[in-house]
Symmetry: C2
Subunit: 146 residues, 2 copies
């Protein structure tokens, strides 16, 4: 279900329902996200897109990313490093991230126990959870010290 065609359909439907326009720029940006590494930042995506379509502006890329995030096609992440990262979402299940501080590699994981414990912690403090993020920073197999 995480293919370009489906995403494009989702986009088309959302735009129609909200009296917004389906533009080639939005289509191109969505397509290029599917050609791109699974975790990326806006600037790298813009450079990549610009190299193929030199009329598409930085602002349009940022605006599209914001839109796709709102629709739920992608998810904006806060992995540290001062730059927002994005990943395709669609109906992928929630997950958290292991990040190698040497090479930047990102590994995804889910742990149901951790998810459940978070609920319990929030309840204990009277809080209603909206979302959460767990980042584990370390050195990956290739870069750990022996």
């Amino acid at each position: 279900m995480l293919d370009f065609k489906t995403a494009l359909e989702t986009l088309r439907n959302y735009l129609k329902e909200h009296e917004m326009r389906f533009t080639t720029e939005r289509m191109i940006i969505l397509e290029e996200i599917f050609n791109f590494p699974p975790h990326f930042d806006a600037e790298k995506l813009f450079i990549h897109i610009r190299s193929k379509y030199n009329h598409i502006s930085r602002a349009t890329v940022y605006r599209a990313l914001e839109l796709f995030d709102k629709i739920g096609i992608i998810k904006k992440l806060n992995l540290g490093g001062g730059v927002a990262q994005y990943e395709l979402k669609m109906d992928l299940p929630h997950h958290d991230h292991l990040i190698c501080v040497v090479c930047g590699k990102v590994i995804e994981f889910v742990d149901d126990t951790i998810e459940r414990l978070q609920q319990e912690i929030a309840e204990k403090h009277g809080m209603e959870i909206i979302n959460h993020q767990l980042q584990i920073y370390g050195r990956c197999k290739e870069h750990r010290k022996q």
Copy 2:
């Protein structure tokens, strides 16, 4: 052990060992951190300090925060919102954060099971953990919807 005197000693020792200067600016900034809310950002701290000591510059505050973080007197946090947050650290135990998206209130917590599970997850992927952060965003007691 989390008092100003001890922190000042730590600072003095570090500076001496590294052929760096003990300055009144560094002392004042450290002192004001102890007069400040437990989670703060650089700009608010700067404004506060500036109101009492109008010669201290923004750059010096930022440089001191970087230094104190390196020494381990404070900890730089990434709670989202695009601005770095800081908290006193010294030898306080590790903890994570619940954050109210309405009022910004921050609640600290630790859960040993979650901590242990993270170790297991990292090992399963061959990663050596350096650190981690877990942020739970939600609505606090006062701001949750009934």
